[in-house]
């Protein structure tokens, strides 16, 4: 008996009869799940008050089971669903997963487990998931990660571990994820990162580390990923970015260092970004840091003057010191300071640091904000203008 025709995109809402592929016989799935039929197969979407299906038609390619009070999935729920491509299980209360639960679905491309209560994954859960491209474990209860959980994920491009309780990461976590493009570790409790975290054949484009407790950006961290395009380090406790941390980042187009504890940065830090001859396309943000606006930031001032139209949160990027500069925007100080350095010329009192001539096109510098409150400069040299 067939309840529905096989027309494209026909929507049905009633009891679903299983195909006879299952050795357990025909089992109707519960009332209330929405089923869409197409030439791709069955797309099944279950939300309360529907019941969670205990088994699926053999042609299921897309399954959504969300917003249930479910601490465990029915065992063998994926039995026979060999065509499954996407599995959306967000917003349940899953506390554990059976180690073999994904074995019937080796073609799975997307697994979304956002907002459950998982404290870990059983060993071998993902061992047959060589086709998995997207794995989302956002907002679970992960406190530790074992690198072995991710073994076999050779197609993985997108890994989201944000919103968990991770304090540290195992070495070699990403070692064999050759296709990984995006890694989201935001909103955890990471205080430090293993220095070799990004080593390996992966080709990372996007790295999210916002909302953690990092205190230092180590110089070797980013080196292995020269094609990194977007880097989010905002909302940490960064007091130090080591010299050379940005070396080799030829494609960086977004850098968010806002809301940290940076008072200063080492000389030459910005040089690799400045020397590329192109701006960061998506912008950068260094606001909400306690910047001490003295001559140690000369490199930064020059870079800001050259790239300020890509700068987010300009009004929130201010000096916390020294006393004379307190409360000024970095751009105002940068403008005045760069002008002063030009007027001093190369024979001026202080040796110029940073990239050599030809990189900073002085003709393109915009004059400082003289129409604003006078900016106190921090040397004993008199201001050239009042």
């Amino acid at each position: 008996m067939s309840f529905w025709s096989r027309q494209r995109y026909q929507r049905t809402l009633f009891l679903l009869l299983l195909s006879l592929a299952s050795a357990r016989g025909v089992t109707p799935t519960p009332k209330g799940c929405v089923v869409f039929q197409s030439e791709k197969g069955s797309s099944i979407s279950c939300h309360p008050p529907a019941q969670v299906p205990r088994s699926l038609p053999a042609d299921t390619f897309h399954l959504v089971v969300e917003f249930f009070n479910l601490t465990q999935l029915p065992p063998d729920i994926l039995q026979g669903a060999s065509k499954l491509q996407e599995l959306h299980l967000s917003s349940n209360r899953l506390e554990g997963l059976a180690a073999e639960f994904l074995l019937p679905a080796p073609g799975l491309r997307v697994l979304d487990l956002t907002r459950n209560a998982l404290a870990g994954l059983p060993p071998g859960l993902l061992r047959a998931s060589a086709a998995l491209e997207t794995l989302v474990l956002k907002e679970n209860r992960l406190e530790v990660l074992e690198a072995s959980w991710l073994h076999g994920l050779k197609a993985l491009e997108f890994l989201d571990l944000s919103g968990n309780r991770l304090r540290e990461l195992p070495a070699g976590l990403l070692a064999n994820l050759t296709r990984l493009r995006t890694l989201d570790l935001g909103g955890n409790r990471l205080e430090a990162l293993p220095p070799g975290l990004l080593r390996g054949p992966l080709r990372l484009e996007r790295l999210h580390l916002e909302g953690n407790r990092l205190r230092v950006l180590a110089k070797e961290l980013l080196g292995p990923q020269p094609d990194l395009r977007l880097l989010f380090l905002n909302d940490n406790q960064l007091a130090e970015v080591e010299a050379g941390a940005f070396r080799g980042l030829r494609r960086l187009d977004m850098l968010d260092l806002s809301n940290n504890s940076l008072a200063s940065v080492p000389e030459g830090l910005w040089a690799p970004l400045a020397q590329r001859g192109r701006d960061m396309q998506d912008g950068f943000d260094i606001s909400r840091n306690p910047w001490v606006c003295d001559q140690k930031l000369n490199d930064l001032y020059r870079w800001l003057q050259a790239t300020k139209d890509k700068m987010f949160s300009q009004d929130d990027t201010r000096c916390a010191g020294p006393e004379a500069a307190k409360g000024q925007t970095l751009l105002a100080v940068a403008g005045a300071q760069v002008d002063l350095l030009r007027l001093q010329g190369d024979g001026g009192g202080k040796k110029r640091h940073g990239p050599g001539p030809g990189v900073w096109d002085e003709g393109s510098l915009v004059h400082g904000h003289w129409n604003q409150c006078p900016v106190w400069l921090l040397f004993s040299l008199p201001l050239p203008r009042n």
Binding site: R11, V34, S43, H47, D112, T114, T182, D285, F312
Partner: protein
């Protein structure tokens, strides 16, 4: 009134992975969003939506986007969009302000 500059940063951080905004921008995992405001859900030309999204039948505007972006999976059950949503009202306001400018 949301801050479009802040919204742009939110877009880059949370949306640009899967969406473009400019006219003629490509579809990625999600549809290009040009022309979003005033359009019925599931109608960006050339994108393969789930039936859940196509059948939602609402018009995108500030109010519908405020609700949607808080919890996309709740608003459009069955969507394949893997995005948990923006809890903070101010972030949604900022993002919507940016989208208003960037998609029209």
């Amino acid at each position: 009134m949301g801050d479009a500059e802040a919204g742009k940063k939110i877009f880059v951080q949370k949306c640009a992975q899967c969406h473009t905004v400019e006219k003629g921008g490509k579809h990625k995992t999600g549809p290009n969003l040009w022309g979003l405001f005033g359009r019925k859900s599931g109608q960006a030309p050339g994108f393969s939506y789930t039936d859940a999204n196509k059948n939602k039948g609402i018009i995108w505007g500030e109010a519908t986007l405020m609700e949607y972006l808080e919890n996309p999976k709740k608003y459009i059950p069955g969507t394949k969009m893997v995005f948990a949503g923006l809890k903070k009202k101010s972030e949604r306001e900022d993002l919507i302000q940016y989208l208003k400018q960037a998609t029209s």
